[in-house]
Protein backbone atom coordinates (compact mmCIF):
# COMPACT_ATOMS: atom_id res chain seq x y z
CA UNK A 1 0.00 0.00 0.00
CA UNK A 2 2.65 2.47 1.02
CA UNK A 3 4.79 1.37 -1.88
CA UNK A 4 2.24 2.72 -4.32
CA UNK A 5 2.09 6.10 -2.66
CA UNK A 6 5.86 6.28 -2.51
CA UNK A 7 6.24 5.58 -6.20
CA UNK A 8 3.57 8.06 -7.10
CA UNK A 9 5.12 10.74 -4.98
CA UNK A 10 8.53 9.94 -6.35
CA UNK A 11 7.21 10.31 -9.88
CA UNK A 12 5.58 13.62 -8.97
CA UNK A 13 8.74 14.92 -7.36
CA UNK A 14 10.81 13.85 -10.37
CA UNK A 15 8.47 15.89 -12.55
CA UNK A 16 8.71 18.90 -10.30
CA UNK A 17 12.49 18.56 -10.22
CA UNK A 18 12.47 18.69 -14.00
CA UNK A 19 10.41 21.87 -13.82
CA UNK A 20 12.78 23.41 -11.31
CA UNK A 21 15.77 22.46 -13.44
CA UNK A 22 14.09 23.98 -16.46
CA UNK A 23 13.44 27.23 -14.63
CA UNK A 24 16.98 27.40 -13.26
CA UNK A 25 18.36 26.83 -16.72
CA UNK A 26 16.18 29.49 -18.25
CA UNK A 27 17.20 32.00 -15.59
CA UNK A 28 20.89 31.23 -16.23
CA UNK A 29 20.52 31.61 -19.97
CA UNK A 30 18.70 34.91 -19.72
CA UNK A 31 21.00 36.43 -17.11
CA UNK A 32 24.36 35.20 -18.35
CA UNK A 33 24.29 34.48 -22.08
CA UNK A 34 25.23 37.99 -23.21
CA UNK A 35 28.46 38.36 -21.26
CA UNK A 36 29.35 34.74 -21.95
CA UNK A 37 28.98 35.43 -25.67
CA UNK A 38 31.24 38.48 -25.30
CA UNK A 39 33.79 36.44 -23.43
CA UNK A 40 33.65 33.79 -26.14
CA UNK A 41 34.03 36.44 -28.80
CA UNK A 42 37.20 37.77 -27.20
CA UNK A 43 38.57 34.25 -26.95
CA UNK A 44 38.06 33.41 -30.60
CA UNK A 45 37.48 36.79 -32.36
CA UNK A 46 34.76 35.36 -34.50
CA UNK A 47 31.02 35.90 -33.98
CA UNK A 48 30.02 32.56 -35.52
CA UNK A 49 32.52 30.56 -33.51
CA UNK A 50 31.56 32.51 -30.37
CA UNK A 51 27.92 31.64 -30.99
CA UNK A 52 28.80 27.94 -31.35
CA UNK A 53 30.93 28.02 -28.23
CA UNK A 54 28.12 29.52 -26.17
CA UNK A 55 25.68 26.92 -27.49
CA UNK A 56 28.03 24.07 -26.63
CA UNK A 57 28.68 25.57 -23.22
CA UNK A 58 25.01 25.87 -22.32
CA UNK A 59 24.26 22.35 -23.56
CA UNK A 60 26.93 21.00 -21.26
CA UNK A 61 25.64 23.23 -18.50
CA UNK A 62 22.17 21.74 -18.93
CA UNK A 63 23.53 18.22 -18.68
CA UNK A 64 25.40 18.91 -15.47
CA UNK A 65 23.17 21.57 -13.98
CA UNK A 66 22.64 19.43 -10.89
CA UNK A 67 26.32 19.84 -10.04
CA UNK A 68 25.88 23.60 -9.72
CA UNK A 69 24.92 23.95 -6.09
CA UNK A 70 25.30 27.69 -5.69
CA UNK A 71 23.83 30.11 -8.22
CA UNK A 72 26.42 32.66 -7.13
CA UNK A 73 29.11 30.44 -8.64
CA UNK A 74 27.27 30.17 -11.96
CA UNK A 75 29.39 32.75 -13.82
CA UNK A 76 32.71 31.12 -13.00
CA UNK A 77 31.20 27.69 -13.66
CA UNK A 78 30.01 28.68 -17.14
CA UNK A 79 33.31 30.36 -17.96
CA UNK A 80 35.17 27.22 -16.94
CA UNK A 81 32.98 25.13 -19.25
CA UNK A 82 33.43 27.66 -22.05
CA UNK A 83 37.21 27.70 -21.70
CA UNK A 84 37.25 23.92 -21.85
CA UNK A 85 35.07 23.96 -24.97
CA UNK A 86 37.42 26.49 -26.52
CA UNK A 87 40.40 24.28 -25.75
CA UNK A 88 38.59 21.36 -27.39
CA UNK A 89 38.06 23.50 -30.43
CA UNK A 90 41.81 23.88 -30.74
CA UNK A 91 42.29 20.18 -30.22
CA UNK A 92 39.98 19.55 -33.11
CA UNK A 93 42.33 21.82 -35.03
CA UNK A 94 39.59 24.02 -36.30
CA UNK A 95 40.60 27.20 -37.95
CA UNK A 96 41.20 30.07 -35.67
CA UNK A 97 39.36 32.59 -37.76
CA UNK A 98 40.19 36.08 -36.83
CA UNK A 99 37.51 38.33 -38.15
CA UNK A 100 37.40 41.64 -36.41
CA UNK A 101 35.90 43.43 -39.40
CA UNK A 102 32.81 41.34 -39.12
CA UNK A 103 32.05 42.51 -35.63
CA UNK A 104 32.69 46.09 -36.59
CA UNK A 105 30.04 45.79 -39.25
CA UNK A 106 27.70 44.25 -36.72
CA UNK A 107 28.45 46.89 -34.11
CA UNK A 108 25.74 49.52 -34.14
CA UNK A 109 27.21 53.03 -34.19
CA UNK A 110 26.49 54.22 -30.73
CA UNK A 111 26.89 57.82 -29.70
CA UNK A 112 28.89 60.17 -31.87
CA UNK A 113 31.03 58.93 -34.75
CA UNK A 114 34.19 60.01 -32.95
CA UNK A 115 33.49 57.60 -30.13
CA UNK A 116 32.81 54.76 -32.50
CA UNK A 117 36.15 55.21 -34.19
CA UNK A 118 37.81 55.37 -30.81
CA UNK A 119 36.00 52.24 -29.71
CA UNK A 120 36.92 50.41 -32.87
CA UNK A 121 40.54 51.33 -32.33
CA UNK A 122 40.38 50.17 -28.73
CA UNK A 123 38.80 46.85 -29.74
CA UNK A 124 41.67 46.29 -32.09
CA UNK A 125 44.11 46.94 -29.26
CA UNK A 126 42.28 44.51 -26.98
CA UNK A 127 42.32 41.91 -29.73
CA UNK A 128 46.06 42.39 -30.15
CA UNK A 129 46.83 41.72 -26.50
CA UNK A 130 48.35 38.35 -25.76
CA UNK A 131 45.53 35.95 -24.82
CA UNK A 132 47.14 35.37 -21.46
CA UNK A 133 46.87 39.10 -20.73
CA UNK A 134 43.49 39.59 -22.34
CA UNK A 135 41.66 36.88 -20.41
CA UNK A 136 42.29 38.16 -16.88
CA UNK A 137 41.39 41.65 -18.08
CA UNK A 138 38.07 40.40 -19.43
CA UNK A 139 37.31 38.56 -16.22
CA UNK A 140 38.05 41.68 -14.22
CA UNK A 141 36.26 44.23 -16.38
CA UNK A 142 33.43 42.22 -17.88
CA UNK A 143 32.68 40.06 -14.85
CA UNK A 144 34.07 42.14 -12.01
CA UNK A 145 36.04 39.17 -10.69
CA UNK A 146 38.61 39.67 -7.95
CA UNK A 147 42.21 38.60 -8.37
CA UNK A 148 41.48 35.42 -6.42
CA UNK A 149 38.46 34.56 -8.53
CA UNK A 150 40.42 35.09 -11.73
CA UNK A 151 43.20 32.93 -10.33
CA UNK A 152 40.72 30.12 -9.67
CA UNK A 153 39.14 30.25 -13.12
CA UNK A 154 42.48 30.43 -14.91
CA UNK A 155 44.21 27.99 -12.59
CA UNK A 156 47.01 30.43 -11.87
CA UNK A 157 48.27 31.92 -8.67
CA UNK A 158 47.07 35.35 -7.69
CA UNK A 159 50.40 37.10 -8.18
CA UNK A 160 50.63 35.90 -11.75
CA UNK A 161 47.13 37.19 -12.37
CA UNK A 162 47.96 40.61 -10.93
CA UNK A 163 51.14 40.81 -13.01
CA UNK A 164 49.21 39.98 -16.16
CA UNK A 165 46.57 42.57 -15.37
CA UNK A 166 49.32 45.12 -14.83
CA UNK A 167 50.94 44.27 -18.17
CA UNK A 168 47.63 44.27 -20.03
CA UNK A 169 46.73 47.78 -18.89
CA UNK A 170 50.25 48.99 -19.28
CA UNK A 171 50.30 47.88 -22.92
CA UNK A 172 46.93 49.41 -23.63
CA UNK A 173 47.88 52.70 -22.03
CA UNK A 174 51.13 52.88 -23.95
CA UNK A 175 49.28 52.16 -27.18
CA UNK A 176 46.87 54.96 -26.37
CA UNK A 177 49.69 57.38 -25.67
CA UNK A 178 51.39 56.45 -28.94
CA UNK A 179 48.13 56.91 -30.72
CA UNK A 180 47.63 60.32 -29.17
CA UNK A 181 51.16 61.36 -30.21
CA UNK A 182 50.60 60.39 -33.83
CA UNK A 183 47.28 62.24 -33.73
CA UNK A 184 45.22 59.15 -34.18
CA UNK A 185 46.60 58.60 -37.68
CA UNK A 186 46.55 54.89 -37.15
CA UNK A 187 42.84 54.87 -36.52
CA UNK A 188 40.84 52.21 -38.32
Amino acid sequence: MLGGVGKKQLAASVTSEMMTKQRRYEALVRALHADLYRYAFWLCHNPTVADDLVQETFLRAWKSLDSLKDEGAAKAWLITILRRENARRFERKQFDLSDLDEVQVADPAQGDPEQTIEQRWLRRQIAQLEPEYREPLLLQILYGFSGDEIATVMELNRNTVMTRLFRARNQLREAMQDNAKTGGQKNG
Partner: protein
Protein backbone atom coordinates in the same frame (compact mmCIF):
# COMPACT_ATOMS: atom_id res chain seq x y z
CA UNK B 1 54.83 52.51 -0.68
CA UNK B 2 57.04 53.69 -3.52
CA UNK B 3 55.88 55.14 -6.79
CA UNK B 4 56.37 51.90 -8.70
CA UNK B 5 54.33 49.88 -6.24
CA UNK B 6 51.59 52.52 -6.33
CA UNK B 7 51.37 52.29 -10.10
CA UNK B 8 51.70 48.52 -10.10
CA UNK B 9 48.72 48.14 -7.81
CA UNK B 10 46.60 50.55 -9.79
CA UNK B 11 47.46 48.97 -13.10
CA UNK B 12 46.41 45.63 -11.69
CA UNK B 13 43.08 46.98 -10.48
CA UNK B 14 42.21 50.67 -10.81
CA UNK B 15 38.90 50.19 -9.08
CA UNK B 16 40.19 48.63 -5.91
CA UNK B 17 39.18 50.10 -2.59
CA UNK B 18 42.57 50.59 -1.04
CA UNK B 19 42.94 53.07 1.80
CA UNK B 20 46.71 53.28 1.39
CA UNK B 21 46.40 54.15 -2.30
CA UNK B 22 43.70 56.69 -1.58
CA UNK B 23 45.86 58.51 0.93
CA UNK B 24 48.79 58.70 -1.48
CA UNK B 25 46.53 59.97 -4.26
CA UNK B 26 45.07 62.63 -2.00
CA UNK B 27 48.51 63.97 -1.17
CA UNK B 28 49.87 63.92 -4.72
CA UNK B 29 47.93 65.47 -7.61
CA UNK B 30 50.09 63.74 -10.22
CA UNK B 31 49.40 60.33 -8.75
CA UNK B 32 45.74 61.20 -8.42
CA UNK B 33 45.62 62.19 -12.07
CA UNK B 34 47.25 58.92 -13.01
CA UNK B 35 44.61 57.05 -11.04
CA UNK B 36 41.77 58.94 -12.72
CA UNK B 37 43.34 58.31 -16.10
CA UNK B 38 43.41 54.57 -15.46
CA UNK B 39 39.82 54.62 -14.30
CA UNK B 40 38.81 56.41 -17.46
CA UNK B 41 40.70 53.81 -19.46
CA UNK B 42 38.77 51.07 -17.69
CA UNK B 43 35.49 52.72 -18.51
CA UNK B 44 36.47 52.88 -22.17
CA UNK B 45 37.54 49.26 -22.05
CA UNK B 46 34.26 48.23 -20.43
CA UNK B 47 32.39 49.82 -23.34
CA UNK B 48 34.71 48.39 -25.98
CA UNK B 49 34.50 44.87 -24.57
CA UNK B 50 30.73 44.88 -24.87
CA UNK B 51 30.50 43.71 -28.44
CA UNK B 52 26.96 43.33 -29.73
CA UNK B 53 25.27 40.05 -28.84
CA UNK B 54 23.00 38.33 -31.38
CA UNK B 55 19.48 39.38 -30.43
CA UNK B 56 18.01 35.89 -30.70
CA UNK B 57 20.81 34.06 -28.88
CA UNK B 58 18.89 33.49 -25.63
CA UNK B 59 15.85 32.13 -27.48
CA UNK B 60 18.02 29.84 -29.56
CA UNK B 61 19.76 28.52 -26.46
CA UNK B 62 16.43 27.73 -24.81
CA UNK B 63 15.05 26.13 -27.94
CA UNK B 64 18.14 24.00 -28.39
CA UNK B 65 17.83 22.66 -24.85
CA UNK B 66 14.11 21.94 -25.22
CA UNK B 67 14.74 20.01 -28.42
CA UNK B 68 17.39 18.02 -26.67
CA UNK B 69 15.10 17.15 -23.76
CA UNK B 70 12.37 16.22 -26.20
CA UNK B 71 14.69 13.96 -28.17
CA UNK B 72 15.98 12.16 -25.10
CA UNK B 73 12.41 11.78 -23.77
CA UNK B 74 11.42 10.14 -27.02
CA UNK B 75 14.38 7.83 -26.86
CA UNK B 76 13.53 6.99 -23.28
CA UNK B 77 9.92 6.33 -24.20
CA UNK B 78 11.03 3.98 -26.95
CA UNK B 79 13.34 2.18 -24.53
CA UNK B 80 10.62 1.91 -21.92
CA UNK B 81 8.26 0.58 -24.55
CA UNK B 82 10.82 -2.05 -25.40
CA UNK B 83 11.31 -2.95 -21.75
CA UNK B 84 7.55 -3.24 -21.27
CA UNK B 85 7.23 -5.40 -24.38
CA UNK B 86 10.00 -7.72 -23.30
CA UNK B 87 8.49 -7.96 -19.83
CA UNK B 88 5.11 -8.82 -21.28
CA UNK B 89 6.66 -11.38 -23.57
CA UNK B 90 8.32 -12.94 -20.54
CA UNK B 91 5.02 -12.87 -18.71
CA UNK B 92 3.33 -14.46 -21.74
CA UNK B 93 5.89 -17.26 -21.87
CA UNK B 94 5.46 -17.76 -18.17
CA UNK B 95 1.73 -18.16 -18.65
CA UNK B 96 2.06 -20.44 -21.66
CA UNK B 97 4.32 -22.69 -19.65
CA UNK B 98 1.23 -23.36 -17.59
CA UNK B 99 2.83 -22.90 -14.22
CA UNK B 100 0.28 -20.32 -13.32
CA UNK B 101 -2.82 -18.85 -14.83
CA UNK B 102 -3.35 -15.13 -14.88
CA UNK B 103 -6.31 -12.95 -15.66
CA UNK B 104 -6.56 -9.60 -17.40
CA UNK B 105 -6.32 -7.86 -14.04
CA UNK B 106 -2.83 -9.20 -13.56
CA UNK B 107 -1.94 -8.23 -17.10
CA UNK B 108 -3.14 -4.72 -16.36
CA UNK B 109 -1.04 -4.58 -13.21
CA UNK B 110 1.98 -5.79 -15.15
CA UNK B 111 1.45 -3.00 -17.64
CA UNK B 112 1.26 -0.51 -14.81
CA UNK B 113 4.43 -1.71 -13.18
CA UNK B 114 6.45 -1.53 -16.34
CA UNK B 115 5.20 1.79 -17.58
CA UNK B 116 4.74 3.73 -14.40
CA UNK B 117 7.76 6.00 -14.83
CA UNK B 118 6.79 6.80 -18.31
CA UNK B 119 3.08 7.49 -17.77
CA UNK B 120 3.69 9.57 -14.66
CA UNK B 121 5.19 12.42 -16.74
CA UNK B 122 3.68 12.03 -20.12
CA UNK B 123 1.24 14.55 -21.49
CA UNK B 124 0.48 14.20 -25.14
CA UNK B 125 -2.68 16.31 -24.80
CA UNK B 126 -4.95 13.89 -26.56
CA UNK B 127 -8.36 15.23 -27.51
CA UNK B 128 -11.51 13.25 -26.90
CA UNK B 129 -11.96 12.99 -30.67
CA UNK B 130 -8.50 11.47 -31.08
CA UNK B 131 -9.20 9.03 -28.26
CA UNK B 132 -12.49 8.06 -29.84
CA UNK B 133 -10.83 7.46 -33.20
CA UNK B 134 -8.63 4.87 -31.55
CA UNK B 135 -11.44 3.51 -29.44
CA UNK B 136 -13.64 3.09 -32.49
CA UNK B 137 -11.25 0.45 -33.79
CA UNK B 138 -12.16 -1.59 -30.72
CA UNK B 139 -15.86 -0.92 -31.14
CA UNK B 140 -16.52 1.73 -28.51
CA UNK B 141 -16.86 5.45 -28.07
CA UNK B 142 -16.79 7.76 -25.05
CA UNK B 143 -19.27 10.62 -24.77
CA UNK B 144 -17.32 12.27 -21.96
CA UNK B 145 -14.18 11.85 -19.89
CA UNK B 146 -13.41 12.85 -16.32
CA UNK B 147 -10.43 15.10 -17.16
CA UNK B 148 -7.43 15.54 -19.43
CA UNK B 149 -6.23 12.70 -21.60
CA UNK B 150 -2.47 12.44 -21.27
CA UNK B 151 -1.86 9.38 -23.33
CA UNK B 152 -3.82 6.98 -25.51
CA UNK B 153 -2.18 4.23 -27.47
CA UNK B 154 -2.68 0.65 -28.48
CA UNK B 155 -1.03 -2.08 -26.49
CA UNK B 156 -1.40 -5.82 -26.38
CA UNK B 157 -3.08 -8.01 -23.82
CA UNK B 158 -2.29 -11.61 -24.53
CA UNK B 159 -2.05 -10.83 -28.24
CA UNK B 160 -5.26 -8.84 -28.27
CA UNK B 161 -4.89 -5.29 -29.46
CA UNK B 162 -6.13 -3.09 -26.66
CA UNK B 163 -6.07 0.57 -25.74
CA UNK B 164 -3.95 2.07 -22.96
CA UNK B 165 -5.27 5.44 -21.78
CA UNK B 166 -3.82 7.69 -19.10
CA UNK B 167 -6.18 10.39 -17.98
CA UNK B 168 -6.72 12.97 -15.32
CA UNK B 169 -9.62 12.96 -12.89
CA UNK B 170 -10.55 14.49 -9.57
CA UNK B 171 -8.58 11.57 -8.13
CA UNK B 172 -5.43 12.42 -10.09
CA UNK B 173 -3.93 10.33 -12.88
CA UNK B 174 -5.63 7.04 -13.57
CA UNK B 175 -5.08 4.43 -16.23
CA UNK B 176 -7.77 2.84 -18.33
CA UNK B 177 -7.27 -0.30 -20.39
CA UNK B 178 -9.89 -1.15 -22.96
CA UNK B 179 -9.54 -4.79 -23.96
CA UNK B 180 -11.72 -6.53 -26.53
CA UNK B 181 -12.86 -9.89 -25.13
CA UNK B 182 -11.20 -12.08 -27.68
CA UNK B 183 -9.11 -14.22 -25.40
CA UNK B 184 -9.95 -16.80 -22.78
CA UNK B 185 -8.86 -14.45 -20.07
CA UNK B 186 -11.44 -12.80 -17.89
CA UNK B 187 -11.34 -9.53 -16.02
CA UNK B 188 -12.17 -9.67 -12.30
CA UNK B 189 -14.24 -6.89 -10.73
CA UNK B 190 -11.36 -5.99 -8.51
CA UNK B 191 -7.66 -6.74 -8.61
CA UNK B 192 -4.68 -5.32 -6.76
CA UNK B 193 -1.04 -5.66 -5.85
CA UNK B 194 1.14 -3.73 -3.41
CA UNK B 195 1.11 -0.62 -5.54
CA UNK B 196 -2.09 -0.53 -7.51
CA UNK B 197 -5.76 -1.21 -7.28
CA UNK B 198 -7.86 -1.92 -10.32
CA UNK B 199 -11.57 -2.23 -10.98
CA UNK B 200 -12.94 -4.26 -13.87
CA UNK B 201 -16.09 -3.65 -15.85
CA UNK B 202 -17.40 -5.63 -18.78
CA UNK B 203 -19.39 -3.75 -21.32
CA UNK B 204 -20.58 -5.90 -24.20
CA UNK B 205 -17.56 -7.21 -26.03
CA UNK B 206 -15.19 -4.86 -24.18
CA UNK B 207 -13.39 -5.28 -20.89
CA UNK B 208 -12.61 -2.01 -19.14
CA UNK B 209 -9.90 -2.04 -16.49
CA UNK B 210 -9.44 1.15 -14.50
CA UNK B 211 -6.24 1.20 -12.46
CA UNK B 212 -4.98 3.68 -9.90
CA UNK B 213 -3.17 3.79 -6.61
CA UNK B 214 -4.79 2.20 -3.62
CA UNK B 215 -5.69 5.62 -2.26
CA UNK B 216 -7.67 6.73 -5.25
CA UNK B 217 -11.45 6.34 -5.21
CA UNK B 218 -12.00 4.58 -8.49
CA UNK B 219 -15.58 3.41 -8.08
CA UNK B 220 -17.23 6.74 -9.05
CA UNK B 221 -14.99 6.89 -12.12
CA UNK B 222 -15.99 3.37 -13.11
CA UNK B 223 -19.64 4.37 -12.82
CA UNK B 224 -19.01 7.30 -15.11
CA UNK B 225 -17.27 5.05 -17.60
CA UNK B 226 -20.17 2.64 -17.46
CA UNK B 227 -22.55 5.37 -18.59
CA UNK B 228 -20.21 7.32 -20.88
CA UNK B 229 -18.90 4.40 -22.89
CA UNK B 230 -21.17 3.46 -25.77
CA UNK B 231 -20.75 0.54 -28.07
CA UNK B 232 -20.62 1.25 -31.76
Amino acid sequence: MDDLEFRRRLYADPNRQDEELRQIAEGDPAQNAFWQELRALDQQLACAIKVPVPADLAERLLLQQQLKVHRSARRQRWQLGLVASVALLALGLFLVSGQRSADLGEHALAHMAHEQDFVAHIDEQITLDALNTKLAALGGTLSDIPGEIYYANYCHFEGVRSLHVVMGSDQGRVTLFVIPSQSQLTLPHQFANDSYLGLGLDKGPLHLALVGTREQQLQPLVERLRSDLKLL
